[in-house]
């Protein structure tokens, strides 16, 4: 990919990110009703506190001024105060973020290591029992409501079989001094193998639940693109060279077949973000997703606003990287 093209693509992000912030700003600003009154609800606040909230939201200034103030602050990481936590919004988010990142990463890994081999196998053994099973599985995967699947897992493994914990991120006995804030890594860095397995047992069900739709989609993409690639002339030519079956499949077919898989995976990583809210709620996972849901019910709007903006920006960036990745992987695309 040429540098000029990269810069052009980078510049295209600007209007999108700007638009995203306008919408996030509008969500809270243009909603009918007085946001301060809604936020206060039936809490008892002094007139001074109310005035402070009003000032904090900038409600005493004209709308365009408020938007630019919002944007300027957002760029500097200032999203105002979380009244509920009595701390800056950004601090609360920072505290919850590692749990969400860890969960998403594990879900991503689970999806990749199951979806790609299964998709390839289904394509190689087309119309076999395995292929049908994979097709049915991927249909189920996209049709299962995540929150319900999570509850089923809890009922089976935590309540009935009692081999996995119901909720949380790690047991009290296993708590350790954080380093990276990713518990699976920190427990190992601290040499606490028991704590590592404790953390693993906590993360496994939420990660499977979160990764399930992605697994289904990736498996389908891999299977389709593998079948498509296997029809290509260069596969016949590779066979005509007398290469071994493994070489034809893995060196010639898989390398090309994985190009769409990788770019879909990058895009779908963004959709893991959406699933977070549900999965974290079901499994009591102390991440950003659950924080947002909790914040909605206590009308902690600045936090909801900041989190939605954060999710959207991450999502846009992931799509951007997916795009770049696609062009890097695919030497044919001349841009």
């Amino acid at each position: 990919m040429s540098l000029a093209r990269f810069v052009e693509r980078l510049l295209q992000l600007i209007p999108v990110l700007l638009g995203v912030s306008v919408i996030v700003f509008a969500m809270i600003t243009l909603t009918p009703g007085d946001p301060v009154q809604i936020m206060i609800g039936d809490q008892i606040v002094t007139p001074e506190q109310e005035a402070a909230m009003r000032r904090d939201l900038g409600l005493d200034r004209p709308i365009h001024e408020r938007f630019f103030a919002f944007l300027g602050n957002a760029v500097q990481g200032d999203f105002g105060q979380s009244f509920y936590h009595r701390r800056p919004v950004i601090d609360v988010i920072k505290e919850r973020l590692p749990a969400t990142i860890e969960l998403s990463l594990v879900a991503l890994i689970i999806a990749l290591v199951t979806a790609i081999p299964l998709g390839v196998l289904a394509a190689i053994k087309r119309n076999s029992f395995l292929d049908r099973l994979a097709t049915v599985g991927s249909l189920l995967g996209v049709s299962l409501p995540g929150f319900w699947f999570g509850i089923l897992l809890i009922m089976l493994f935590a309540v009935h079989l009692q081999i996995l914990p119901v909720s949380g991120r790690i047991g009290y006995a296993s708590e350790i001094e954080p380093i990276t804030h990713l518990l699976l890594i920190d427990t190992l860095l601290r040499g606490r193998v028991d704590a590592f397995f404790d953390a693993l047992s906590h993360i496994i069900m939420p990660a499977i639940t979160l990764g399930l739709p992605m697994t289904a989609i990736l498996m389908r993409v891999t299977r389709t693109s593998m079948l498509e690639v296997m029809r290509q002339d260069y596969i016949t030519f590779a066979e005509a060279k007398g290469l071994s079956r493994q070489k034809v499949l893995f060196r010639h077919a898989l390398k090309n077949a994985l190009i769409p898989t990788v770019s879909v995976a990058a895009i779908e990583t963004g959709s893991l973000l959406g699933g977070n809210m549900i999965v974290e709620t079901v499994f009591g996972w102390p991440g950003l997703g659950r924080l947002v849901v909790e914040s909605i019910f206590v009308r902690n709007y600045p936090l909801v606003q900041a989190a939605v903006l954060f999710y959207a920006v991450t999502y846009v960036m992931l799509n951007f990287f997916a795009d770049i990745l696609y062009t890097i992987l695919n030497p044919r695309v001349k841009l």
Binding site: S143, V292, F297
Partner: protein
């Protein structure tokens, strides 16, 4: 004059292709069976007051967490058991179908209508109209779906109409992109050129010449989207951002059952099965529809 002319030439061809596609679809037994399942759900939803064994709001504390009929303590008149307020779960599932299907259909219908208009305008008129619409589409695509809907629901507050609005806000983008893409191709075809040369108005060309020819992919996409919307609605209800109690909705029913997973697994399980069944049936049926209608999948 050009009006009747083109109608005569494209009308019958469209119909025969449609018939052939329908025959393909009916021939696909799995897809056809799934379509029947969807129809049964729709039937149950429409006639809920007639087919449901009980009143969905009728509470009976003596039946609190009563197990399904085949378990000890169950009763055949309460087939799937009762929830924490002693309400019949089967009845509430049947009533819940109303919410899911109504919201699913309404969102897809409104979103598709908006999407068609915006997509036709962008694809046919091009220029600044296309610029503006495509930019808005890009921006809306910048939000993960559920987060966008949750954000809107948080601001607007719960309620049936609000859910529909919150979902339509982003949903229309999907048919819009399909329509725009198809329109870009179709507008260059000969018969459209011919209509333009005969002095047909832009509106006439968009609605009478282009739209009928791109409707198949749009319908296919819409049916698939319906499954997504139903899951989204259930997810919002699960989080407590959907239709408010005591109205029965599947997501909320699953959520209610979470408190009783130790002693009453059926409260969460059955509404979830209902969601899975309906969504799966829609997915399979729409896949069959796509295979039958989309020429790109004909081999």
């Amino acid at each position: 004059m050009p009006d009747t002319d083109t109608k005569a030439s494209t009308g019958p061809v469209q119909e025969t292709i449609f018939r052939r596609n329908m025959r393909n679809f009916v021939g696909n037994r799995l897809a056809f069976g799934s379509a029947l399942v969807v129809l049964i759900f729709i039937f149950l939803a429409i006639f809920a007051p007639l087919v449901a064994p009980h009143d969905p709001a009728e509470t009976d504390l003596f039946r609190r967490l009563q197990p399904p009929a085949w378990m000890p303590g169950g009763e055949w008149s309460y087939l799937l058991g009762c929830d924490a307020l002693g309400r019949d779960i089967l009845t509430r599932i049947i009533y819940g179908a109303r919410i899911s299907i109504f919201i699913g259909a309404a969102v897809v219908l409104v979103a598709t209508t908006i999407g068609i208009i915006a997509g036709l305008a962008a694809g046919y008129l091009r220029g600044w109209v296309d610029m503006v619409i495509s930019r808005v589409v890009d921006i809306l695509l910048g939000f993960p779906y559920l987060i966008f809907a949750i954000g809107l629901m948080a601001m607007m507050g719960p309620g049936l109409i609000n859910i529909i609005i919150a979902l339509v806000y982003k949903e229309w983008v999907i048919p819009c992109r399909v329509v725009r893409g198809e329109t870009l191709v179709t507008r260059e075809l000969e018969y459209v050129e011919a209509a333009r040369a005969l002095g047909a108005s832009g509106r006439h060309i968009m609605l009478r010449e282009i739209l009928p020819n791109i409707l198949s992919p749009v319908i296919v996409v819409s049916t698939i989207r319906m499954a997504h919307v139903i899951i989204l609605e259930a997810s919002l209800s699960f989080l407590g951002l959907g239709v408010q109690p005591p109205t029965a909705s599947w997501g909320a029913m699953v959520s209610d059952g979470r408190a009783f997973i130790l002693q009453a697994w059926w409260v969460s399980t059955f509404p979830g099965i209902a969601i899975l069944l309906l969504v799966l049936a829609i997915n399979v049926a729409s896949q069959g529809l796509r295979d039958a209608f989309d020429p790109r999948f004909h081999e």
